[in-house]
């Protein structure tokens, strides 16, 4: 059974069909790529999957349940986490607090317990959160920055922190929106190894948007290609590389009289 499946997913903005009748399927434990030229609807697809925008029609089946139309926080609690193309950290909070916030939805103590009745499970839960958050920071090599302001981290580390934060929600499906954007080749390579590592360690299914073709072809097991909101190709990297429609979408059509 696929972990994620969309059926006829459609969303328009005014007269623009940003995503049209999208049907994709991702198997459990897979690593899939979502590519396409600028404005193809990749980020809109992510926003639809995570509930940030609502689809006009269509279904999103996650673990056998239709999640289309649920608010983002419910989607996250069901097990889909994401990062953002333009990094959206909690800039004025510490690096550690950024990750702790992602643990919040599993906290058991109530609002009243946190304000007044701070005995019993409050302390134990707080220690658990801190310990877990530090563990995630450790995996991403961010432990030594834990008390820094998140906005003060260099760009590459902010990207890593965003992934660490997404992981701390304990997802089954992780959506990465251009995780390697703006990184130099060395950083990209490290990041890709890291993504492979966390995928194994946490048994994740990953869907990523990326523009660097070498990178996408290198690590993804299957690839979906969008153009003007329409799925024009899907399959393993070798097939995509040879696909005529994909080449046309990226490079334009050959002159017909040639």
């Amino acid at each position: 059974m696929p972990i994620l499946k969309t059926e006829n997913l459609t969303r328009s903005f005014g007269g623009l069909r940003a995503v049209a009748n999208l049907g994709v399927e991702i198997g459990k434990g897979g690593l899939a790529g979502l590519i396409g030229p600028n404005g193809a609807g990749k980020t809109t697809t992510f926003n639809l999957l995570t509930g940030i925008i609502k689809p006009d029609s269509g279904r999103i089946i996650f673990n056998g349940r239709n999640i289309a139309g649920l608010p983002p926080y419910s989607v996250t609690r069901l097990g889909i986490a994401r990062t953002f193309q333009n990094i959206r950290l909690f800039k004025d909070l510490s690096v550690l607090d950024n990750v702790k916030i992602a643990c919040h939805h599993r906290v058991k103590y109530s609002l009243l317990e946190s304000m007044v009745f701070r005995f019993g499970r409050f302390g134990a839960e707080e220690r658990k959160i801190t310990e877990m958050s530090r563990e995630f920071l450790g995996i991403f090599g961010l432990l030594k920055y834990s008390s820094d302001r998140a906005g003060s981290l260099p760009y590459g580390l902010q990207r890593r922190l965003e992934i660490a934060r997404a992981l701390a929600t304990v997802p089954e499906l992780l959506l990465l929106d251009e995780p390697a954007a703006g990184m130099h080749p060395g950083e990209k390579k490290d990041l890709m190894e890291l993504i492979g590592f966390i995928r194994k360690k946490f048994g994740l299914t990953i869907l990523l948007i990326e523009h660097d073709m070498n990178l996408v072809m290198g690590i993804c097991e299957s690839i979906f290609v969008l153009d003007y909101g329409v799925l024009i190709a899907e399959g393993p990297p070798e097939k995509i590389k040879a696909d005529r429609k994909v080449i046309e979408a990226y490079l334009g059509e050959e002159a017909s009289d040639a």
Binding site: Y73, F84, L89, L93, I101, S114, R118, I129
Partner: protein, 323 residues
């Protein structure tokens, strides 16, 4: 375990520190309060009320980042609800054998809870708005509360309710102010508080981390309103009069000034802001006309030198965040 180990263990427990500091401050407060004349006694009570107001408005405006201008309205709700109890129902309550202290406790609590209920009813729709629009909506709600009260005969109409018992005293003020500061600091230093901060920082990111932004915006608003209601109850039993003229938009501005002077998003900062504002006001009490001019000049200088407020968003203690 040696004596020192035991001491170190105790000092490492957050609540031990809180209790020690509270006791110490209480002793200092009692010494000062007991030795000054009536003018300063009154001003110290006002100071305590202002601390509660500033800390609670800071929860909404500073921590939750929702720019609300309805705080005077919530004060009015608390003030009138408590006055109804001490003025109209104290006979029945004392017939049940309740001492004054109990009656006033019920009145203050009723003020806080009624105000919190109003906060919920107003907050749920209003918090869908953002920035300037939210400010205008909350300002409007504050004025609606005030003007509604003005036209209710049961609440004394324009004259308000006079002759309230002078229940507010130094102890009440100290412990309610301490409670407001401790409860709100506790909240902010918990997972729920971090959720409130996350919503302030980036609503979409917070939702994507599994946090319902509506829930936490409303929670901050309701808790803020609760303490504003308590402050209103203490306020009216200090001046022994509840009159809708006390809760105009200017009252909200005063509270906002304290918060902004101290630093939005810093509890210790806004306490300093409240102390600064109240003391400046009382030192200048002999110059009622020049007061506003002098105060404006102080404000301008402060805004030029420290536009982020005295404390910025930092707390006066170990720094949580290197920047």
């Amino acid at each position: 375990m040696t004596k020192f180990d035991a001491l170190a263990w105790a000092l490492n427990r957050g609540w031990v520190k809180v209790v020690l500091i509270t006791v110490l401050l209480y002793v200092i407060w009692s010494l000062i309060y007991g030795s000054v004349n009536d003018f300063w006694k009154f001003n110290l009570l006002v100071l305590g009320i202002n601390i509660i107001l500033a800390v609670s408005l800071n929860l909404i405006n500073g921590f939750a980042g929702q720019f609300s201008l309805g705080h005077a309205g919530f004060m009015a709700v608390g003030g009138y609800s408590s006055a109804i109890i001490t003025l109209y129902h104290s006979g029945e309550l004392s017939a049940l054998g309740m001492p004054e202290f109990m009656i006033f406790s019920i009145a203050v609590l009723a003020g806080g809870i009624t105000s919190a209920v109003f906060g919920f009813i107003i907050g749920l729709p209003a918090l869908r708005l953002k920035g300037d629009y939210l400010a205008i909506a909350t300002l409007g709600f504050g004025e609606i509360i005030r003007l509604s009260v003005l036209n209710v005969d049961y609440l004394g109409g324009a004259a308000g309710l006079k002759g309230l018992p002078a229940y507010t005293n130094g102890n009440w003020i100290f412990f309610m102010a301490a409670a407001a500061v401790i409860v709100i600091s506790n909240l902010i230093n918990s997972s729920h508080g971090r959720a409130i901060l996350a919503v302030r920082e980036d609503e979409i990111a917070a939702e994507s981390m599994g946090i319902s932004s509506t829930r936490y915006k409303v929670a901050a608003f309701v808790i803020g309103a609760f303490f504003a209601g308590i402050a209103g109850a203490l306020f009216v039993h200090n001046i022994r009069l509840v009159n809708s003229g006390s809760f105009t938009f200017m009252k909200t501005v005063e509270i906002l000034v304290m918060v902004v002077i101290g630093g939005l998003g810093s509890t210790t900062g806004v306490i300093i802001g409240a102390v600064f504002f109240t003391l400046t006001n009382s030192f200048l009490a002999d110059y009622p006309y020049e007061r506003m001019i002098i105060f404006s000049i102080i404000m301008i200088i402060l805004m030029l030198l420290r536009p982020e407020g005295l404390m910025g968003s930092r707390e006066f203690r170990r720094r949580r965040c290197r920047s």
